[in-house]
Amino acid sequence: MTNHWVDIKNADLIIVMGGNAAEAHPCGFKWVVEAKKERKAKLVVCDPRFTRSAAVADFYAPLRPGSDIAFLGGVINYLLTHDKIHHEYVKHYTNASFLINPDYKFEEGLFSGYNPEKRSYDRTTWSYQLDKDGYVKVDETLSDPHCVFQLMKTHFSRYTPEMVAQVCGTPKEAFLKVCEWIAETAAPDKTMTILYALGWTEHSKGSQIIRTMAMIQLLLGNIGMAGGGVNALRGHANVQGITDMNLFGATLPGYLSAPTDADIDRKTYLEKRTPKALRPNQMNFPQNFPKWFTSLQKAFYGDHAKPENDFCYDWLPKIDGAYDTMAIFERMHQGKMTGFVCQGYNPLASIPNKRKVADALAKLKYLVIIDPLATDTSEFWKPHGEYNEVDPAKIQTEVFRLPCALFAEESGSFTNSGRVIQWHWKAADPPGEAKSDIEIIAALYLKLKAMYAKEGGVFPEALMGITWPYRIPHKPSPEELLMEINGKALADLTDPKDPTKVLVKAGEQLPNFAVLRDDGTTACGNWIYAGCWPQAGNLTARRDNSDPSGLGQTPNWGFAWPANRRIIYNRASCDPSGKPWDPSRAVIRWSGGRWGGNDVPDMRPDAAPEEGVGPFIMNPEGVARLFAPAMVDGPFPEHYEPFETPLDANPFHPNNPLAKSNPAARVYKGDMEVFGTAKDFPYVATTYRLVEHFHYWTKHARANAVVQPEQFVEIDEVLAKEKGIKNGDRVKIRSMRGQIKAVAVVTKRIRPLDVGGKKVHVIGLPTHWGFKGVVKPGYIVNTLTPYVGDANSHTPEFKAFLVNIEKA
């Protein structure tokens, strides 16, 4: 979230799209209800289903799964053609005025540089025009045909209300009503917030859907504002924190991209990641990359990391390709993996195409499960009737199951979706012999270290050399670890402006990330968390919930990264001269020669407005990108059909089969072959969560089993009648990859959609069931889903695929 949960109450208009906040985040949704009650805010829900969020909405608009870009592109077109944009904001805070390489093209649904064999783009032409100093050329009048604003206008001119209705199945009047309400928030003193979740990410063009909404929010001037922003409502209680710790092969803690084979040494690696400012006077904050990275190396490798050995640069593994979840399981399926650990993760249930996942797991030599619960994955080899038909004798994988503690049984910090890091305290011991995850990781590490010390082995240096300064080596304390994450000074740190002044003494905890050094005198496990445990102690444990501004910022509750900032990009809540666009909801302001106010400014505190320092300090441009060359599938969003679609062609590009589905999405051999077509699988399926359950956990909790006991699917009344299915009947749902059975819930809340004259039925598939649990046993819904994901993030396309249905 750019903003945070309580801030939702400051919105005038709340859009829930690509998510179902009332069901997936009910306690956060209270701030939507609060905005409605106290600010007279309006709530709009756009969803293929009339959800529990829609039940309390002021307006509901249906749309076909996977057509979100068409809808949102239509909104952009509406805002531009009706001139409902925040002109000053767009001009000063976005790259609307930037000039783009004249060779950039968009033709027949493809951007310039497409290579159909590789299914990828050469992005050379998606670039800025630079002047002799290396700065981007701009046209402040926004009239140059190569400026972003004009290119954007042309690009989205095709997204007419008629096209939206034809592609999305949204009635034109409903679409226009949503546009009108959104357009009202172009006023500087009106804000809209968008709450989305996996309903947007789980598409083969998920990142671009989110970008389209980000563009809308930029055009309206809603980013950085209280009650504004682009707010991803994330999944698990600490998915934000674990993302920040970057438990991804391709990134290091603090979102530092990991070295690849091309980064032959530290110098090459740093040069590529340390950008130069693209406009004069910009903060270009990533210029500090060497400080973040060097401090991480010092945290990992301690005294071993020295300038003369490139701070142990070679101890970090280099990446040679994709290692996202789907890539990992593809490798496993190809027999390229020997061992695998699932720590609190149930991939058999949560990864597409259960059959492929089960086959992959059966190719492992050993599988280790670390979990508080008996997961489905841990018993992938065990027959569970019709729900898991396997022959254990044929599966040679050795499976270990290690019991670990739950939240209540250990202390530590979680980071919520609003980036607030909060400490929690242990209440009881875990049951039986279960141990905390930290102890289990430490036990494995110490055992391996002992084995390497005794027997030797391949490249033991990093393994033997990482810091392990924990007082009880087999039981590192969460406190010690959070202190390491925050970081400390390894030598006295002096003020660069006055070398006689010591800012931080050697051995002291770091006060913030501004003091980080690239010379090895600071250690910091995660730069964005610097400041959470300064010399004063654990700020994540703060429990002062006072809210002096009334905006819900609670600055002394826990610690928000970065720098305890509650609303990021908050500089953009003020006009270029430093006055809040909306004084009644002022986040910060320029006053008395400094930035200050109701939040930690997202700006150098003494950067006078006249200097023209842009509010988007993490971009070398200093402004936000309406045109984004970094995306792998296009600098502007474009509607593509899901990989399994009921339509014969992309209605925007009916004559180019290459532009039917996302041309840059990765598809593995064997997976393309098991995509179904509308001929055999005429109905659009979409998977989702229900409020009564959390993923595949609460099926183990009795109370939740009582309130939602048995697997079901939702179908519309028209389809039910056609198929002779009555409410409560058992039905069979098939996709190209398998079939499941469940109870039919026949409902008015799903309607057949008129998509360009074709009647499209949507079938809703709640996920939560499996063969383990205290609920009635059920099928794993991902038996049905296709193995393809978003081109940028590789998040699977769970939200739009094809099935057939019949009475069981």
């Binding site: 009910p26 209270k30 007279k40 009339f50 409020v691 009582v706 006991p709 409410n727 409560g728 809340r749």
Partner: protein, 295 residues
């Protein structure tokens, strides 16, 4: 004035007047249907706090689970898909004891002290005094109490009298994520309801209003409804509930008439009571009556 007073104002089947000296405030739970997302947090909080777990049932084609109130489910959400003028509304109502000011269950209850009403308005069942006759069900205009299979006693929402007694809100109210449930003095709740009704009227629900039915003397659980003119839209909320005529009869003329037969019945009852315990009394008699009726 204390909200949590547990001074008793009425006891079932008891003629001794209740102490009436202390002045205490009436409490109320307000269910703002317009803010309810049907998440069932109230259901779970209720079973967790009260240490009851219903059976793991089945999906019967709707979101209602458990499908009805039971001795172990003191509150359930009832979901209704209502389509009018092209607009679909999903009207979700939390069902459970209304804590009537004039409680039909208490009036109908023949067992002394099995049902009591506190000065703050809570109507509570005292299971140790319950004989399991089921008359509270007959007496209830909202069809709320249920008899447990295990012990043959009647159960229903207590409005968390144990929490209220120590100054806490009921478990369901505390948990409610959207604030659709509110708790306080009845007066405060009516004021809050006024505010919500104004908001709903502004949003086009012209018939929004408070459900505090006079037929039962008002209730200590009230609803804010978008369509207060048609409570039946909300899974059959009765438009004008009143105490069953059976109860009035029992309390009125039937009671003196019945005394003629009292001795015989009492002896019969006692016989059963001694042999089988209290649960069987009414069942046995009812069975006999049933037989008689069908002949």
């Amino acid at each position: 004035m204390a909200l949590q007073s547990l001074d008793i104002t009425r006891r079932s089947a008891t003629t001794t007047p209740a102490p009436a000296l202390r002045q205490t405030t009436e409490v109320a739970k307000l269910i703002d249907v317009s803010a309810c997302i049907g998440c069932k947090a109230c259901q779970v909080a209720c079973m967790e706090w009260n240490d009851i777990r219903d059976e793991v049932g089945n999906c019967v084609g709707v979101y209602d689970n458990p499908v009805d109130l039971s001795a172990k489910s003191w509150t359930v959400m009832r979901f209704a898909e209502v389509e009018e003028g092209g607009r679909l509304q999903w009207l979700i109502r939390k069902d459970g004891c209304m804590h009537c000011a004039d409680p039909g269950c208490l009036k109908a209850c023949p067992s002394p002290g099995a049902i009591i009403q506190y000065a703050n308005g809570i109507v509570d069942f005292q299971q140790e005094n319950c004989i399991g006759c089921g008359y509270c069900i007959t007496g209830c205009p909202f069809n709320i109490p249920r008899i447990a299979k295990e012990d043959g006693k009647a159960y229903k929402c207590t409005l968390c009298s144990d929490r209220v007694a120590v100054g806490q809100a009921p478990a369901c109210v505390k948990s409610c994520p959207t604030g659709a449930l509110q708790f306080g003095s009845k007066e405060q709740m009516k004021d809050y309801a006024d505010k919500r009704i104004k908001d709903l009227k502004m949003r086009g629900f012209e018939k929004a209003g408070l459900y505090d039915p006079p037929g039962v003397g008002g209730t200590h659980v009230m609803y804010v409804l978008h369509h207060a003119d048609r409570p039946e839209l909300y899974s059959g909320l009765p438009p004008d509930p009143s105490i069953s005529p059976l109860v009035s009869l029992w309390k009125g003329f039937a009671k003196p008439l019945a005394t003629v037969a009292m001795a015989a019945v009492a002896l019969g009852s006692l016989f059963h009571y001694v042999i089988k315990g209290p649960n069987e009394v009414s069942k046995k008699l009812e069975d006999e009556l049933e037989k008689e009726e069908s002949t």
